[in-house]
């Protein structure tokens, strides 16, 4: 989805304004929001990819103005509404109607959850299509759903610098397609390939890209 979240290479956002000694949460509600989105019970089949996709559907001006954790609250609301786990009325009033569940994550399970080793790597029999050092091009494609191929790299040529085995494909996993998996590569693009000859001749940008994002150059 070519939405406002894909900001790589844009100008006009002004200074970075890094804050020294910044606390993890600037206000108490931010911690609560973070905690909710981490330990709440999500709809069946909900994935981190769906989480990221829902954030991308935020109205563009809100995406640029709302704080990070406020957007997490939007994501939780969307996840609950679209799955029917919560009705708009319940959300608006903050009062529950449906029966109460008893399977929420307990506090004593949180530390284990934060160190659990379940991850996106998957087994895949077919051999990787590309080899280390091979020249590849990021495909020119414009999915309207979730993708992790930023616009600034599409159509650009780079070289494979490492392979990570197979991983869940976000473009499918964000849309209920479960566990489709593909080989994942890190691809190095020269800065001049991405931004033209005025870019520094030495510099490069590396992206982690799934096999279906790539074609032989």
């Amino acid at each position: 989805m070519n939405s406002i979240h894909d900001v790589g290479g844009m100008h006009g956002f002004g200074a970075i304004n890094a804050e020294a000694d910044e606390p993890p949460f600037h206000e108490a509600w931010e911690g609560r929001a973070g905690g909710i989105l981490e330990v709440m019970t999500f709809p069946a089949g909900f994935t981190v990819d769906r989480f990221r996709y829902l954030r991308e559907t935020l109205r563009p001006d809100l995406y640029l103005t709302q704080t990070y954790y406020e957007q997490w609250i939007y994501i939780a609301e969307q996840a609950l509404l679209e799955s029917g786990m919560t009705s708009p009325e319940e959300l608006a009033r903050g009062k529950a109607r449906a029966p109460r569940r008893e399977d929420a994550m307990r506090s004593d399970a949180v530390w284990g959850f934060l160190h659990d080793r379940a991850h996106s790597g998957r087994d895949l029999d077919d051999a990787p299509r590309f080899a280390i050092g091979q020249r590849v091009r990021a495909r020119t494609m414009q999915p309207t759903g979730h993708t992790r191929l930023p616009r600034y790299a599409r159509g650009k040529t780079g070289s494979i610098v490492s392979r990570h085995g197979a991983h869940v494909l976000p473009d499918a996993s964000a849309h209920g397609k479960g566990d489709m998996r593909q080989h994942l590569y890190t691809v190095r693009f020269a800065a001049q390939e991405l931004w033209g000859e005025r870019a520094n001749a030495r510099d490069s940008v590396h992206l982690d890209l799934w096999e279906s994002y790539l074609e032989p150059a």
Binding site: N2, G12, G14, P60, Q142
Partner: protein
Amino acid sequence: MSQHSHAHDHDLAHHHDIHSELPPDPALRVKALESLLTEKGLVDPAAIDAWIEVYESKIGPRNGAKVVAKAWVDPAYKQRLLSDGTKAIGELDFLGRQGQHIVAVENTPDVHNLVVCTLCSCYPLSVLGLPPAWYKSAPYRSRAVIDPRGVLKEFGLELPEHVKIRVWDSTAEVRYLVLPARPAGTEGMSEERLAALVTRDSMIGVGKVSAR
């Protein structure tokens, strides 16, 4: 192609720090701006009124409709229009600000033209008047070049597969006027009656002209 970034950053600063100190309601801000400019002699309210008058009663889509109707009834004019839009539109004295360099693009059974300005709101004002709000909005500007058929569907216009869509992104000062297809069943009509059929939307490319 050098550009001084300092001038560029300088402008940036002026935008940033003023907006947070002004009322959100544009009506209040514009009223204050007009009174300030008037007091400083930087604007003459009568000139503001005159410009509003230009677009309310002197310049509008009827200009473009007359060009289209003339092209429908006068093949020689149509040829001149398609080969040099500026000169042909100049014959009717419809050139003007934001309409000094015009290219007319003809809709045919095989080609449908659609005009947009993805970067801002460029539009042939001298022949169509002020652009509609949707033409200047992000949804239209963003999707017209990547999903023209989807955009046309929102205007109730579905084109057969075999028709080629040509989108014109007005990135310079060249302005584009779509010459829509003349609807069947209008053979006997006068140029004036034909002009009355021509809609503004059909001259942008988001609609067709119907005989009724």
